[in-house]
């Protein structure tokens, strides 16, 4: 009953497309049907959210285990290793510039106690907003790594390279 109703009102009136690989089940309802498409989208979103949830929980567990192991290792050695990079650069703030996607990127690197303390981006006129937004978090990565030699953000390679070379440029003035 339902099927015939769908058939008379739905896509059965339409001449069948011999190349349409998606047709053929449930009495002519196929991938062109709007309801089926909405259900697909819903299913995909639910699956991705569930995936994210699972991975987050797993990552958190792994991190807790890692921290515990680190703590034990530290307690065992009981000697805090001094940072070997300390004193690599002279204190002060330095400007640097690098070639990004569509023009120069200018940064200001603050060095205190011989370590990279802060990176500010002064200008990025030639960059596309989205791409630059992706690459921007590299400044934090660089501060954490205390080196401009970090992995580029995938998909935003040129903006990443621009930021990295700008920081390198600034650091070259600091040593």
């Amino acid at each position: 009953m339902l099927l015939t109703k769908i058939c008379t009102s739905g896509s059965c009136n339409v001449k069948r497309d011999p190349w349409d690989i998606s047709r053929g089940f449930r009495g002519g309802r196929n991938m062109h049907d709007v309801t089926i498409r909405w259900m697909n989208i819903l299913a995909m979103v639910v699956l991705l959210l569930a995936y994210n949830q699972t991975v987050t929980v797993r990552a958190r567990d792994a991190e807790i285990a890692q921290l515990k192991a680190d703590k034990e290792a530290l307690e065992a050695s009981a000697v805090a290793a001094d940072s070997d990079v300390a004193g690599r650069w002279k204190d002060g703030t330095y400007d640097g510039s690098g070639q990004g996607f569509g023009g120069p990127i200018n940064v200001e690197v603050a060095v205190s106690n011989g370590r990279i303390a802060d990176i500010k981006i002064l200008s990025h006129d030639g960059e596309d907003g989205t791409y630059f937004g992706m690459a921007e978090k590299l400044t934090e990565t660089i501060v954490d790594a205390q080196s401009a030699d970090v992995d580029s953000v995938s998909g935003a390679t040129f903006s990443s390279k621009g930021i990295k070379s700008a920081v390198e440029d600034a650091l070259s003035k600091a040593s």
């Binding site: 009102s9 739905g10 896509s11 009136n13 339409v14 497309d17 190349w19 690989i21 991938m31 062109h32 049907d33 709007v34 309801t35 498409r37 909405w38 697909n40 989208i41 991705l48 995936y51 994210n52 991975v55 987050t56 990552a59 996607f101 569509g102 023009g103 030639g126 596309d128 907003g129 989205t130 791409y131 937004g133 992706m134 995938s154 998909g155 935003a156 040129f158």
Partner: protein
């Protein structure tokens, strides 16, 4: 940019004026002028409006199509690596464009995609040359075109699979989009892009001769959009039972050879890029959106959609 906006505004006022003069003349003669003169004019102004919107988006938001597809690639790369999918800038743009497409159809493709606008400009040159030489522009046979349509799904599946298995890095330099966006900012450091340049030039030749060649047959982002549902209220429909017998004006003028659904059909035409050409060309004015109150090519409706899309992009900081 402000110049383009002004042009768009001007066009709007012209169209409104045209309507008003049409309403001022007595009803009998009005019918005649509408059928003979005003429809051609209307089609012309629609073209102008669309070109204006396309130029506006090309200047203001030229990298959205690439960013949105980077979102797709990022999702599958992270899925393959077992990492959490973050709401990064790329993923946000992807979600925004997809939601907009699910509401209004592929308006983004028809009006806001920089690569689509580039292709339209190329094809426009071809049509202009044909008109000058008084020859009819030749298009692909619809049957061949329908088979080629599956090319984009195959490409999408290939790219997604490469991202998932982590081998996409090896294909770096083959993307014609990367070459296009680098040339757009006059950055000619294209040493590692030899294959991308060759592909882009081939595509440009095809895009020159066939309207929306890339969008219909190759664009992997278009494949994603073509699989999305569209709210039936804003999907174009035609009143097929009341059409003139054998009339195929809408399908013939359509850049994607779409056979629009009749009212009551729940079919989604994923290939429709909302260009609105069919609405203007229909001799009986039978094509309307699902609400039947909007015809789909009114200047206010086009500008409303363009403005809301632009607002979303500005909000996202594209």
């Amino acid at each position: 940019m402000s110049g383009k906006k002004k042009v768009t505004e001007e066009m709007k006022s012209i169209t409104v004026d045209g309507e008003m003069t049409g309403a001022a003349v007595p009803p009998l003669s009005r019918k005649k002028t509408r059928k003979k003169m005003t429809r051609k004019q209307k089609i012309f102004y629609q073209k102008l409006l669309r070109a204006g919107v396309q130029v506006f988006f090309f200047v203001m938001f030229p990298s959205v199509f690439n960013a949105a597809f980077s979102g797709v690639k990022e999702i599958f790369t992270r899925l393959g690596a077992g990492q959490v999918i973050e709401f990064s800038a790329f993923v946000k743009v992807l979600i925004a464009v997809c939601i907009f497409t699910m509401i209004f159809g592929r308006f983004f493709c028809g009006y806001a995609c920089a690569f689509g606008a580039f292709g339209d400009a190329l094809h426009g040159i071809y049509v202009g040359i044909c008109r000058k030489r008084k020859k009819k522009p030749r298009g692909l046979n619809p049957k061949t075109a329908r088979i080629l349509t599956y090319g984009k799904y195959i490409l999408l599946a290939g790219i997604v699979l490469m991202c998932f298995t982590g081998t996409y890095e090896r294909a770096q330099g083959t993307s014609p989009w990367d070459v296009f966006s680098r040339v757009r900012v006059f950055n000619f450091g294209l040493a590692e892009y030899a294959s991308g340049i060759v592909i882009l030039i081939c595509l440009m030749i095809y895009m020159f001769f066939e309207e929306r060649f890339f969008c219909r047959f190759i664009c992997p982002m278009g494949a994603v959009f073509a699989l999305l549902p569209v709210l039936p209220w804003f999907h174009l429909h035609r009143d097929r039972p009341n059409c003139a017998k054998g009339c195929r004006a809408c399908t013939n003028t359509c850049p994607a050879d779409v056979e629009l659904p009749s009212y009551g059909e729940s079919r989604v035409c994923g290939e429709c890029i909302q260009c609105g050409k069919c609405v203007g060309v229909c001799p009986r004015q039978h094509i309307k959106t699902g609400t039947t109150k909007i015809r789909g090519n009114e200047p206010w409706y086009v500008l409303l959609r363009a403005a809301s899309l632009a607002a979303i992009f500005i909000w996202l900081g594209v």
